[in-house]
Protein backbone atom coordinates (compact mmCIF):
# COMPACT_ATOMS: atom_id res chain seq x y z
CA UNK A 1 0.00 0.00 0.00
CA UNK A 2 1.33 3.40 -0.97
CA UNK A 3 2.93 5.58 1.68
CA UNK A 4 2.89 9.33 1.22
CA UNK A 5 6.38 10.58 2.12
CA UNK A 6 8.83 13.32 1.17
CA UNK A 7 10.80 12.93 -2.07
CA UNK A 8 14.07 12.49 -0.15
CA UNK A 9 12.47 9.78 1.99
CA UNK A 10 10.97 8.00 -1.04
CA UNK A 11 14.33 7.84 -2.82
CA UNK A 12 16.14 6.78 0.38
CA UNK A 13 13.64 3.96 1.01
CA UNK A 14 13.14 2.74 -2.57
CA UNK A 15 16.47 3.02 -4.41
CA UNK A 16 19.71 1.30 -3.40
CA UNK A 17 23.16 1.26 -4.95
CA UNK A 18 23.31 -1.26 -7.81
CA UNK A 19 19.53 -1.28 -8.43
CA UNK A 20 17.93 -1.48 -11.85
CA UNK A 21 15.84 1.70 -12.01
CA UNK A 22 13.30 2.67 -14.69
CA UNK A 23 12.42 6.38 -14.66
CA UNK A 24 9.75 6.58 -17.33
CA UNK A 25 7.68 9.28 -18.99
CA UNK A 26 7.66 9.57 -22.80
CA UNK A 27 8.66 13.23 -23.32
CA UNK A 28 5.70 14.11 -21.06
CA UNK A 29 5.75 13.58 -17.24
CA UNK A 30 9.49 12.83 -16.96
CA UNK A 31 10.36 12.57 -13.23
CA UNK A 32 13.24 15.08 -13.23
CA UNK A 33 12.98 16.10 -9.55
CA UNK A 34 13.25 12.46 -8.49
CA UNK A 35 16.28 12.01 -10.78
CA UNK A 36 17.97 15.00 -9.16
CA UNK A 37 17.26 13.54 -5.71
CA UNK A 38 18.97 10.29 -6.78
CA UNK A 39 22.01 12.38 -7.83
CA UNK A 40 21.94 14.27 -4.50
CA UNK A 41 21.83 11.03 -2.52
CA UNK A 42 24.83 9.87 -4.60
CA UNK A 43 23.49 6.48 -5.64
CA UNK A 44 26.09 4.47 -7.55
CA UNK A 45 26.26 1.47 -9.91
CA UNK A 46 22.68 1.86 -11.14
CA UNK A 47 21.33 0.12 -14.22
CA UNK A 48 19.27 2.92 -15.73
CA UNK A 49 16.34 1.77 -17.89
CA UNK A 50 14.40 4.21 -20.07
CA UNK A 51 13.15 4.24 -23.67
CA UNK A 52 14.43 7.79 -24.25
CA UNK A 53 17.25 8.64 -21.82
CA UNK A 54 16.51 12.34 -22.44
CA UNK A 55 18.16 15.04 -20.30
CA UNK A 56 17.28 13.19 -17.07
CA UNK A 57 19.66 10.28 -17.78
CA UNK A 58 22.23 12.58 -19.41
CA UNK A 59 22.36 14.22 -15.97
CA UNK A 60 22.48 10.93 -13.99
CA UNK A 61 25.14 9.48 -16.31
CA UNK A 62 27.26 12.65 -16.10
CA UNK A 63 26.92 12.65 -12.30
CA UNK A 64 28.39 9.14 -12.14
CA UNK A 65 25.29 7.26 -10.93
CA UNK A 66 25.11 4.73 -13.79
CA UNK A 67 26.93 1.52 -14.61
CA UNK A 68 24.65 0.41 -17.43
CA UNK A 69 22.01 1.95 -19.70
CA UNK A 70 19.05 0.03 -21.19
CA UNK A 71 17.40 2.23 -23.83
CA UNK A 72 16.05 2.73 -27.35
CA UNK A 73 16.70 6.38 -28.34
CA UNK A 74 19.36 8.53 -26.70
CA UNK A 75 19.09 12.03 -28.15
CA UNK A 76 17.97 15.50 -27.08
CA UNK A 77 14.61 15.59 -28.93
CA UNK A 78 14.63 18.12 -31.76
CA UNK A 79 17.98 19.53 -30.59
CA UNK A 80 20.77 16.97 -31.12
CA UNK A 81 23.03 14.79 -29.02
CA UNK A 82 23.00 13.92 -25.34
CA UNK A 83 26.62 14.90 -24.75
CA UNK A 84 27.06 13.34 -21.27
CA UNK A 85 25.77 10.03 -22.69
CA UNK A 86 28.13 10.34 -25.66
CA UNK A 87 31.08 11.27 -23.45
CA UNK A 88 30.49 8.15 -21.34
CA UNK A 89 30.19 5.85 -24.39
CA UNK A 90 32.91 7.43 -26.54
CA UNK A 91 35.45 8.37 -23.82
CA UNK A 92 34.39 6.58 -20.63
CA UNK A 93 33.77 9.83 -18.66
CA UNK A 94 33.05 9.89 -15.77
CA UNK A 95 32.94 6.07 -16.03
CA UNK A 96 32.44 3.53 -18.82
CA UNK A 97 28.79 2.79 -19.58
CA UNK A 98 27.56 -0.65 -20.60
CA UNK A 99 24.73 -0.50 -23.16
CA UNK A 100 21.73 -2.73 -23.77
CA UNK A 101 20.03 -1.33 -26.83
CA UNK A 102 16.63 -1.95 -28.42
CA UNK A 103 14.06 -0.28 -30.66
CA UNK A 104 11.09 1.55 -29.10
CA UNK A 105 8.78 -1.32 -30.06
CA UNK A 106 11.18 -3.78 -28.42
CA UNK A 107 11.45 -1.76 -25.19
CA UNK A 108 7.68 -1.19 -24.98
CA UNK A 109 7.06 -4.91 -25.41
CA UNK A 110 9.72 -5.80 -22.83
CA UNK A 111 7.84 -3.66 -20.28
CA UNK A 112 4.54 -5.31 -21.28
CA UNK A 113 6.12 -8.73 -20.65
CA UNK A 114 7.41 -7.54 -17.28
CA UNK A 115 4.01 -6.18 -16.29
CA UNK A 116 2.35 -9.40 -17.51
CA UNK A 117 4.59 -11.66 -15.46
CA UNK A 118 5.87 -13.33 -18.62
CA UNK A 119 9.54 -14.01 -19.40
CA UNK A 120 9.40 -12.50 -22.89
CA UNK A 121 7.27 -10.70 -25.46
CA UNK A 122 6.90 -11.39 -29.18
CA UNK A 123 6.99 -8.87 -32.00
CA UNK A 124 7.53 -8.70 -35.72
CA UNK A 125 10.73 -6.70 -35.74
CA UNK A 126 14.53 -6.60 -35.67
CA UNK A 127 14.95 -9.03 -38.61
CA UNK A 128 17.80 -7.84 -40.80
CA UNK A 129 19.03 -5.19 -38.34
CA UNK A 130 22.43 -5.18 -36.66
CA UNK A 131 20.68 -4.86 -33.26
CA UNK A 132 19.68 -8.45 -33.85
CA UNK A 133 23.09 -9.44 -35.19
CA UNK A 134 24.88 -8.00 -32.12
CA UNK A 135 23.04 -10.48 -29.94
CA UNK A 136 22.91 -13.55 -32.16
CA UNK A 137 26.16 -13.76 -34.15
CA UNK A 138 29.66 -14.57 -32.84
CA UNK A 139 28.19 -16.11 -29.72
CA UNK A 140 26.28 -12.89 -29.08
CA UNK A 141 26.16 -11.16 -25.71
CA UNK A 142 26.50 -12.95 -22.41
CA UNK A 143 22.90 -12.09 -21.46
CA UNK A 144 21.01 -11.92 -24.75
CA UNK A 145 17.73 -10.00 -24.76
CA UNK A 146 16.74 -10.61 -28.42
CA UNK A 147 16.18 -14.08 -29.85
CA UNK A 148 14.45 -15.54 -32.92
CA UNK A 149 11.25 -17.47 -32.24
CA UNK A 150 8.98 -19.50 -34.51
CA UNK A 151 5.22 -19.10 -34.21
CA UNK A 152 3.82 -22.49 -33.06
CA UNK A 153 0.64 -21.92 -35.11
CA UNK A 154 1.82 -20.44 -38.41
CA UNK A 155 5.55 -21.13 -38.50
CA UNK A 156 6.28 -17.42 -39.00
CA UNK A 157 9.71 -16.33 -37.80
CA UNK A 158 9.27 -13.61 -35.20
CA UNK A 159 11.43 -11.99 -32.53
CA UNK A 160 11.31 -12.62 -28.80
CA UNK A 161 12.55 -9.90 -26.43
CA UNK A 162 13.19 -10.61 -22.76
CA UNK A 163 11.03 -9.03 -20.06
CA UNK A 164 12.19 -5.94 -18.17
CA UNK A 165 11.74 -6.33 -14.41
CA UNK A 166 13.26 -3.29 -12.71
CA UNK A 167 13.90 -3.13 -9.00
CA UNK A 168 12.27 0.30 -8.95
CA UNK A 169 10.05 2.33 -11.28
CA UNK A 170 10.00 6.11 -10.87
CA UNK A 171 7.29 8.19 -12.56
CA UNK A 172 5.66 11.61 -12.30
CA UNK A 173 1.86 11.94 -12.39
CA UNK A 174 -0.67 14.76 -12.30
CA UNK A 175 -2.49 13.63 -9.15
CA UNK A 176 -2.79 11.25 -6.25
CA UNK A 177 -5.40 11.07 -3.51
CA UNK A 178 -4.63 10.86 0.20
CA UNK A 179 -4.70 7.05 0.07
CA UNK A 180 -2.02 7.03 -2.63
CA UNK A 181 -4.14 6.16 -5.66
CA UNK A 182 -2.39 7.73 -8.67
CA UNK A 183 -3.93 9.29 -11.80
CA UNK A 184 -2.23 10.59 -14.96
CA UNK A 185 -3.34 11.52 -18.47
CA UNK A 186 -2.20 12.99 -21.80
CA UNK A 187 0.75 11.12 -23.31
CA UNK A 188 0.91 8.17 -20.93
CA UNK A 189 3.89 6.34 -22.49
CA UNK A 190 4.90 3.13 -20.73
CA UNK A 191 4.52 4.29 -17.14
CA UNK A 192 1.73 1.87 -16.19
CA UNK A 193 3.74 -1.04 -17.59
CA UNK A 194 6.96 0.17 -15.88
CA UNK A 195 5.28 0.41 -12.45
CA UNK A 196 3.55 -2.97 -12.78
CA UNK A 197 6.82 -4.60 -13.98
CA UNK A 198 8.82 -3.29 -11.00
CA UNK A 199 9.25 -4.59 -7.45
CA UNK A 200 9.00 -1.09 -5.94
CA UNK A 201 7.83 2.27 -7.23
CA UNK A 202 8.11 5.97 -6.51
CA UNK A 203 5.49 8.36 -7.89
CA UNK A 204 5.91 12.14 -7.65
CA UNK A 205 2.73 14.16 -8.23
CA UNK A 206 1.70 17.71 -9.05
CA UNK A 207 -1.15 17.62 -6.60
CA UNK A 208 -2.56 15.52 -3.74
CA UNK A 209 -6.36 15.73 -3.65
CA UNK A 210 -9.06 14.39 -1.32
CA UNK A 211 -10.70 12.30 -4.04
CA UNK A 212 -9.71 11.56 -7.63
CA UNK A 213 -12.53 12.62 -9.93
CA UNK A 214 -12.89 10.13 -12.81
CA UNK A 215 -11.29 11.38 -16.03
CA UNK A 216 -11.88 9.73 -19.42
CA UNK A 217 -8.65 8.37 -20.85
CA UNK A 218 -6.68 8.71 -17.62
CA UNK A 219 -4.53 5.89 -16.30
CA UNK A 220 -5.19 5.00 -12.65
CA UNK A 221 -2.69 3.04 -10.59
CA UNK A 222 -4.45 1.84 -7.42
CA UNK A 223 -2.61 2.57 -4.17
CA UNK A 224 -1.82 -1.13 -3.66
CA UNK A 225 0.34 -1.15 -6.84
CA UNK A 226 2.47 1.82 -5.70
CA UNK A 227 5.13 1.95 -2.93
CA UNK A 228 5.76 5.67 -2.31
CA UNK A 229 4.01 8.86 -3.36
CA UNK A 230 5.66 12.27 -2.92
CA UNK A 231 4.10 15.68 -3.49
CA UNK A 232 6.48 17.48 -5.90
CA UNK A 233 4.74 20.26 -7.88
CA UNK A 234 6.74 21.03 -11.04
CA UNK A 235 8.65 17.77 -10.57
CA UNK A 236 8.66 17.10 -14.31
CA UNK A 237 10.39 20.34 -15.36
CA UNK A 238 11.79 20.86 -18.06
CA UNK A 239 9.42 18.13 -19.24
CA UNK A 240 5.81 18.93 -18.44
CA UNK A 241 2.54 17.80 -16.87
CA UNK A 242 -0.43 18.33 -19.18
CA UNK A 243 -2.94 20.61 -17.50
CA UNK A 244 -0.28 21.98 -15.10
CA UNK A 245 2.73 23.10 -17.16
CA UNK A 246 4.15 23.35 -20.71
CA UNK A 247 7.30 21.65 -21.99
CA UNK A 248 10.19 24.08 -21.48
CA UNK A 249 11.59 23.78 -25.00
CA UNK A 250 14.06 26.64 -24.38
CA UNK A 251 15.60 24.63 -21.54
CA UNK A 252 16.10 21.62 -23.85
CA UNK A 253 17.82 23.91 -26.38
CA UNK A 254 19.97 25.55 -23.66
CA UNK A 255 20.99 22.13 -22.28
CA UNK A 256 23.06 21.47 -25.43
CA UNK A 257 25.79 23.94 -24.35
CA UNK A 258 25.76 22.78 -20.70
CA UNK A 259 25.86 19.10 -21.55
CA UNK A 260 28.56 19.57 -24.18
CA UNK A 261 31.21 20.73 -21.72
CA UNK A 262 32.40 18.76 -18.66
CA UNK A 263 33.19 21.90 -16.66
CA UNK A 264 29.88 23.59 -17.50
CA UNK A 265 28.04 20.40 -16.57
CA UNK A 266 29.91 20.04 -13.26
CA UNK A 267 29.10 23.67 -12.46
CA UNK A 268 25.44 23.04 -13.36
CA UNK A 269 25.36 20.07 -10.96
CA UNK A 270 26.85 22.13 -8.11
CA UNK A 271 24.52 25.08 -8.62
CA UNK A 272 21.28 23.25 -9.44
CA UNK A 273 21.38 19.81 -7.84
CA UNK A 274 23.87 19.62 -4.94
CA UNK A 275 23.43 23.31 -3.93
Amino acid sequence: MAQIVSLAEAVRLAIRDGDAVAMEGFTHLIPFAAGHEVIRQRRRGLTLIRMTPDLIYDQLIGAGCARKLVFSWGGNPGVGSLHRFRDAVERGWPAPLELEEHSHAGMANRYVAGASGLPFAVLRGYNGTDLYRLETLDGGRSCPTIRPITCPFTGERLTAVSAIRPDVAVIHAQRADRSGNVQFWGITGVQKEAVLASRRSVVTVEEIVDTLDPRPGAVVLPAWTVSYVAHVPGGAHPSYALGYSARDNDYYVAWDAIGRDRAAFTRWLEENVYR
Binding site: F26, T27, W73, P77, G78, G125, D130, I187, G189
Partner: protein
Amino acid sequence: MSGQVSVNPAGVTVPAYTADEMMTVSAARALRDGMTCFVGIGLPSAAANLARATHAPGLVLIYESGTIGAKPGELPLSIGDGVLAETADAVVGVPEIFNYWLQPGRIDIGFLGAAQIDKFGNINTTVIGGDYDNPKVRLPGAGGAPEIAASCREVIVVVRQTTRSFVERVDFVTSVGYGSGPGDRARLGLTGAGPKKIITDLGILEPDPVTLEFTLTGLYPGVSVAAARQRTGWDLAVAAQPEVISPPSAAELAALRSLEGVHA
Protein backbone atom coordinates in the same frame (compact mmCIF):
# COMPACT_ATOMS: atom_id res chain seq x y z
CA MET B 1 15.35 36.28 -46.12
CA SER B 2 11.62 36.16 -46.69
CA GLY B 3 11.63 39.54 -48.40
CA GLN B 4 14.28 38.60 -50.95
CA VAL B 5 13.56 37.55 -54.50
CA SER B 6 15.76 36.02 -57.17
CA VAL B 7 15.43 35.29 -60.85
CA ASN B 8 15.66 31.66 -61.91
CA PRO B 9 17.32 30.53 -65.18
CA ALA B 10 14.00 30.75 -67.05
CA GLY B 11 13.81 34.43 -66.16
CA VAL B 12 10.84 34.02 -63.83
CA THR B 13 10.95 35.88 -60.55
CA VAL B 14 10.57 33.51 -57.58
CA PRO B 15 11.03 34.04 -53.85
CA ALA B 16 14.52 33.18 -52.58
CA TYR B 17 14.68 29.95 -50.63
CA THR B 18 17.26 27.74 -48.93
CA ALA B 19 18.25 24.19 -49.93
CA ASP B 20 16.60 22.89 -46.73
CA GLU B 21 13.35 24.67 -47.58
CA MET B 22 13.39 23.13 -51.07
CA MET B 23 13.96 19.70 -49.50
CA THR B 24 11.11 20.10 -47.02
CA VAL B 25 8.72 21.37 -49.70
CA SER B 26 9.72 18.48 -51.98
CA ALA B 27 9.09 15.97 -49.16
CA ALA B 28 5.71 17.54 -48.36
CA ARG B 29 4.64 17.16 -52.00
CA ALA B 30 5.22 13.38 -51.75
CA LEU B 31 2.30 13.09 -49.31
CA ARG B 32 -1.28 12.85 -50.58
CA ASP B 33 -4.41 14.06 -48.83
CA GLY B 34 -6.07 11.43 -46.65
CA MET B 35 -2.96 9.32 -46.13
CA THR B 36 -1.89 8.10 -42.70
CA CYS B 37 1.69 9.04 -41.93
CA PHE B 38 3.99 7.89 -39.08
CA VAL B 39 6.23 10.90 -38.52
CA GLY B 40 9.77 11.14 -37.15
CA ILE B 41 10.89 14.40 -35.56
CA GLY B 42 12.95 17.03 -37.43
CA LEU B 43 12.79 17.28 -41.21
CA PRO B 44 10.05 14.61 -41.57
CA SER B 45 7.81 16.41 -39.07
CA ALA B 46 8.32 19.75 -40.83
CA ALA B 47 7.45 18.21 -44.21
CA ALA B 48 4.38 16.33 -42.95
CA ASN B 49 3.02 19.43 -41.23
CA LEU B 50 3.69 21.51 -44.34
CA ALA B 51 1.69 19.03 -46.42
CA ARG B 52 -1.19 19.28 -43.94
CA ALA B 53 -1.02 23.08 -44.05
CA THR B 54 -1.09 23.18 -47.88
CA HIS B 55 -2.38 20.47 -50.26
CA ALA B 56 -3.21 17.66 -47.79
CA PRO B 57 -5.44 19.01 -44.98
CA GLY B 58 -6.77 15.50 -44.33
CA LEU B 59 -3.32 13.96 -43.79
CA VAL B 60 -3.34 11.92 -40.57
CA LEU B 61 -0.15 12.50 -38.55
CA ILE B 62 0.85 9.79 -36.11
CA TYR B 63 3.72 10.32 -33.66
CA GLU B 64 5.38 7.52 -31.69
CA SER B 65 4.36 9.22 -28.42
CA GLY B 66 0.91 7.73 -29.11
CA THR B 67 -0.73 10.82 -30.61
CA ILE B 68 -2.94 9.81 -33.56
CA GLY B 69 -4.24 12.55 -35.86
CA ALA B 70 -2.23 15.37 -34.27
CA LYS B 71 -2.83 18.84 -35.76
CA PRO B 72 -0.15 21.19 -34.43
CA GLY B 73 -0.35 24.77 -35.66
CA GLU B 74 3.38 25.22 -35.19
CA LEU B 75 6.19 22.66 -35.44
CA PRO B 76 6.66 20.69 -32.22
CA LEU B 77 10.26 20.50 -30.93
CA SER B 78 9.78 16.93 -29.70
CA ILE B 79 7.50 14.02 -30.62
CA GLY B 80 5.69 14.54 -27.31
CA ASP B 81 4.98 18.29 -27.10
CA GLY B 82 1.68 19.10 -25.41
CA VAL B 83 0.20 20.51 -28.62
CA LEU B 84 0.29 17.02 -30.18
CA ALA B 85 -1.79 15.46 -27.40
CA GLU B 86 -4.15 18.44 -27.20
CA THR B 87 -4.95 18.37 -30.95
CA ALA B 88 -4.97 14.58 -31.52
CA ASP B 89 -7.99 12.46 -32.49
CA ALA B 90 -6.77 9.87 -29.98
CA VAL B 91 -3.88 9.48 -27.55
CA VAL B 92 -2.79 5.91 -26.83
CA GLY B 93 0.05 4.35 -24.82
CA VAL B 94 3.40 3.57 -26.37
CA PRO B 95 2.98 -0.25 -26.46
CA GLU B 96 -0.34 0.28 -28.25
CA ILE B 97 0.98 2.69 -30.88
CA PHE B 98 3.61 0.15 -31.95
CA ASN B 99 1.61 -3.08 -31.49
CA TYR B 100 -1.91 -2.15 -32.63
CA TRP B 101 -1.25 0.67 -35.06
CA LEU B 102 2.17 0.26 -36.67
CA GLN B 103 2.89 -3.48 -36.61
CA PRO B 104 -0.24 -4.73 -38.49
CA GLY B 105 0.50 -2.47 -41.50
CA ARG B 106 -2.27 0.10 -40.96
CA ILE B 107 -0.04 3.09 -41.72
CA ASP B 108 0.46 4.26 -45.34
CA ILE B 109 3.73 6.15 -45.07
CA GLY B 110 6.65 6.08 -42.67
CA PHE B 111 8.66 9.27 -42.77
CA LEU B 112 12.25 8.84 -41.55
CA GLY B 113 15.54 10.70 -41.26
CA ALA B 114 19.01 9.11 -41.35
CA ALA B 115 22.61 9.74 -40.31
CA GLN B 116 23.92 7.32 -42.94
CA ILE B 117 22.06 5.66 -45.82
CA ASP B 118 23.32 3.27 -48.49
CA LYS B 119 22.27 2.61 -52.10
CA PHE B 120 19.66 0.06 -50.95
CA GLY B 121 18.11 2.51 -48.51
CA ASN B 122 19.41 0.82 -45.35
CA ILE B 123 19.66 3.38 -42.54
CA ASN B 124 22.17 3.85 -39.72
CA THR B 125 21.28 5.96 -36.68
CA THR B 126 23.33 3.99 -34.13
CA VAL B 127 27.14 4.30 -34.34
CA ILE B 128 29.72 5.65 -36.81
CA GLY B 129 33.36 4.57 -36.99
CA GLY B 130 35.34 2.23 -34.75
CA ASP B 131 33.25 -0.76 -33.68
CA TYR B 132 30.01 -1.03 -31.73
CA ASP B 133 31.69 -1.17 -28.32
CA ASN B 134 34.16 1.62 -29.14
CA PRO B 135 32.46 3.89 -31.67
CA LYS B 136 33.92 7.13 -32.96
CA VAL B 137 30.47 8.75 -32.85
CA ARG B 138 27.63 7.49 -30.73
CA LEU B 139 24.31 8.42 -32.40
CA PRO B 140 20.91 8.32 -30.61
CA GLY B 141 20.01 4.80 -31.77
CA ALA B 142 16.91 3.12 -33.16
CA GLY B 143 13.87 4.78 -31.61
CA GLY B 144 10.79 3.83 -33.60
CA ALA B 145 12.61 3.62 -36.93
CA PRO B 146 13.27 -0.14 -37.37
CA GLU B 147 9.58 -1.04 -37.10
CA ILE B 148 8.48 2.03 -39.11
CA ALA B 149 10.86 0.88 -41.86
CA ALA B 150 9.59 -2.70 -41.57
CA SER B 151 5.84 -2.24 -41.28
CA CYS B 152 4.60 0.97 -42.94
CA ARG B 153 3.16 0.32 -46.39
CA GLU B 154 5.85 2.61 -47.84
CA VAL B 155 8.75 4.64 -46.48
CA ILE B 156 10.11 8.05 -47.45
CA VAL B 157 13.52 9.13 -46.17
CA VAL B 158 14.46 12.81 -45.84
CA VAL B 159 18.19 13.42 -45.45
CA ARG B 160 20.80 16.01 -46.47
CA GLN B 161 23.04 14.56 -49.18
CA THR B 162 26.79 14.48 -48.42
CA THR B 163 29.55 11.89 -48.85
CA ARG B 164 29.34 11.37 -45.07
CA SER B 165 25.63 10.50 -45.13
CA PHE B 166 25.43 8.75 -48.54
CA VAL B 167 27.80 5.83 -48.02
CA GLU B 168 28.63 2.63 -49.90
CA ARG B 169 28.01 0.62 -46.71
CA VAL B 170 26.36 1.87 -43.53
CA ASP B 171 28.45 1.24 -40.39
CA PHE B 172 25.41 -0.26 -38.63
CA VAL B 173 22.05 -1.38 -40.05
CA THR B 174 19.55 0.20 -37.65
CA SER B 175 16.58 0.10 -40.06
CA VAL B 176 16.34 -2.11 -43.12
CA GLY B 177 15.64 -0.72 -46.60
CA TYR B 178 16.15 -3.38 -49.29
CA GLY B 179 18.95 -5.21 -47.41
CA SER B 180 21.45 -6.33 -50.04
CA GLY B 181 18.94 -6.23 -52.90
CA PRO B 182 15.86 -7.89 -54.46
CA GLY B 183 14.18 -10.58 -52.36
CA ASP B 184 15.72 -9.58 -49.04
CA ARG B 185 12.63 -7.90 -47.56
CA ALA B 186 10.46 -10.96 -48.24
CA ARG B 187 13.16 -13.28 -46.91
CA LEU B 188 13.37 -11.21 -43.69
CA GLY B 189 9.57 -11.16 -43.26
CA LEU B 190 9.31 -7.36 -43.55
CA THR B 191 5.70 -6.70 -44.46
CA GLY B 192 5.90 -3.15 -45.88
CA ALA B 193 7.14 -2.36 -49.39
CA GLY B 194 10.22 -0.46 -48.17
CA PRO B 195 11.67 2.95 -49.07
CA LYS B 196 10.13 4.49 -52.20
CA LYS B 197 11.91 7.84 -52.16
CA ILE B 198 14.98 9.45 -50.66
CA ILE B 199 14.43 13.19 -50.68
CA THR B 200 17.59 15.27 -50.21
CA ASP B 201 18.69 18.89 -50.42
CA LEU B 202 19.76 18.24 -54.05
CA GLY B 203 16.88 16.23 -55.46
CA ILE B 204 15.03 12.91 -55.31
CA LEU B 205 16.25 9.33 -55.58
CA GLU B 206 13.96 6.37 -56.29
CA PRO B 207 14.73 2.64 -56.37
CA ASP B 208 15.42 1.06 -59.76
CA PRO B 209 12.44 -1.25 -60.43
CA VAL B 210 14.73 -4.23 -61.10
CA THR B 211 17.87 -3.82 -58.98
CA LEU B 212 16.25 -1.70 -56.20
CA GLU B 213 19.38 0.47 -56.21
CA PHE B 214 18.51 4.10 -55.48
CA THR B 215 18.75 6.16 -58.67
CA LEU B 216 18.71 9.93 -59.06
CA THR B 217 15.38 10.71 -60.73
CA GLY B 218 14.85 14.38 -59.88
CA LEU B 219 16.94 17.51 -59.35
CA TYR B 220 16.10 20.90 -57.91
CA PRO B 221 16.51 23.99 -60.10
CA GLY B 222 20.17 24.87 -60.53
CA VAL B 223 21.54 21.55 -59.20
CA SER B 224 23.66 19.52 -61.63
CA VAL B 225 24.02 15.75 -61.94
CA ALA B 226 27.74 16.28 -61.33
CA ALA B 227 27.04 17.98 -58.00
CA ALA B 228 24.77 15.11 -56.92
CA ARG B 229 27.46 12.57 -57.94
CA GLN B 230 30.08 14.53 -56.04
CA ARG B 231 28.02 14.40 -52.85
CA THR B 232 27.34 10.65 -53.02
CA GLY B 233 29.69 8.07 -51.50
CA TRP B 234 28.90 5.43 -54.11
CA ASP B 235 28.84 5.40 -57.92
CA LEU B 236 25.44 7.07 -58.26
CA ALA B 237 23.04 5.74 -60.89
CA VAL B 238 21.22 8.53 -62.73
CA ALA B 239 17.94 8.33 -64.69
CA ALA B 240 18.19 9.06 -68.42
CA GLN B 241 16.25 12.32 -68.00
CA PRO B 242 16.12 13.43 -64.35
CA GLU B 243 13.05 15.57 -63.79
CA VAL B 244 13.65 19.21 -62.92
CA ILE B 245 11.59 19.77 -59.79
CA SER B 246 9.69 23.03 -59.61
CA PRO B 247 10.90 25.49 -56.95
CA PRO B 248 8.81 26.19 -53.84
CA SER B 249 5.77 28.32 -54.58
CA ALA B 250 5.21 31.51 -52.62
CA ALA B 251 2.33 29.75 -50.83
CA GLU B 252 4.48 26.74 -49.88
CA LEU B 253 7.25 28.97 -48.54
CA ALA B 254 4.86 31.15 -46.58
CA ALA B 255 3.23 28.09 -44.98
CA LEU B 256 6.59 26.53 -44.09
CA ARG B 257 7.95 29.74 -42.57
CA SER B 258 4.79 30.23 -40.59
CA LEU B 259 5.11 26.68 -39.16
CA GLU B 260 8.79 27.22 -38.32
CA GLY B 261 8.27 30.68 -36.86
CA VAL B 262 8.46 29.63 -33.25
CA HIS B 263 11.69 27.64 -33.38
CA ALA B 264 13.48 29.56 -36.15
